[in-house]
Amino acid sequence: MNTEQTLAAVHRTVTVRATPEKAFTVFTASFASWWPTGYHVNPNGYETAFIEPRVGGRWYERGPDGSECDWGRVLEWDPPRRLKLTWQLDSEYAFDPDPDHASEVDVTFTEEEPGLTRVDLVHCRFEGLAGGQSVADTVGGESGWTAILPHYVEAAAA
């Protein structure tokens, strides 16, 4: 139970003094206005980042020299209620193009009262990205994880 918690999805909630429409727009159209600039992967530096407003759109950053680095894709686009993205940066901060490895960032916008919106963010399925190189190499392949986890959960609960 406790250990499950450690490996459970990352869940973060924030309540903002704004309508869901405003909260959704700032999250997406003004993404670069709030994203902490320290979190970027482009070796040439960070200038801005975007979420393209449609299913299949890119989530990416652009450096001062115009070079771009992908982070993920838009899986669901349902303003102002829901946004679902893939996060495809592995633990080495490299873009993993395999959609089967993609982790998911699910963001929902719920109006708690007029002008007050709860934003729930759940980041899950990151197991597919973990240890892209080192751990996978050490243990000899990635297929082990899915097979092992149920045993572990069972053991932890016992």
Binding site: T6, V16, E21, V139
Partner: protein
């Protein structure tokens, strides 16, 4: 093969060890710094760190005469800890940005604050 990962996860089964791991997820720390923040002795902290290191969950480096421990981002638990920190920081920043925008909108257009502004400009 599989045992490696089982070991990594099993290492987090102990509550003190999990607490050490969570502290390290927030910032790299030495044994002494960890012992100060926890109700356990330095030798106990060292023992937990050894287990976490053997499981591949933390890595250490020398800094002068001290050893600094940090979460190993190459494991699933390390990646999760990293993302948890990231979203905490990012959402706090998001909240500030939304509320700054909202305040700006209210200031420039006080009569219109409750209406939907999705229409054509």
């Amino acid at each position: 093969m599989g045992t490696y990962r089982l070991e990594a996860l099993g290492a987090l089964g102990d509550p003190t060890r999990r607490q050490i791991f969570e502290l390290l997820a927030a910032e790299p720390l030495s044994v002494g710094e960890l012992a100060q923040r926890l109700p356990v002795s330095r030798p106990a902290v060292s023992q937990h760190l050894r287990a976490l290191k053997e499981a591949g969950l933390v890595i250490d480096r020398a800094a002068g005469t001290r050893r600094i421990y940090q979460v190993n981002p190459s494991g699933v638990a390390g990646l999760r800890a990293y993302l948890d920190q990231l979203w905490g920081t990012a959402l706090a920043s998001f909240q500030a940005a939304v509320e700054a925008t909202e305040a700006a909108v209210e200031a420039t257009n006080p009569a219109d604050q409750a209406t939907d502004t999705e229409e054509t400009p």
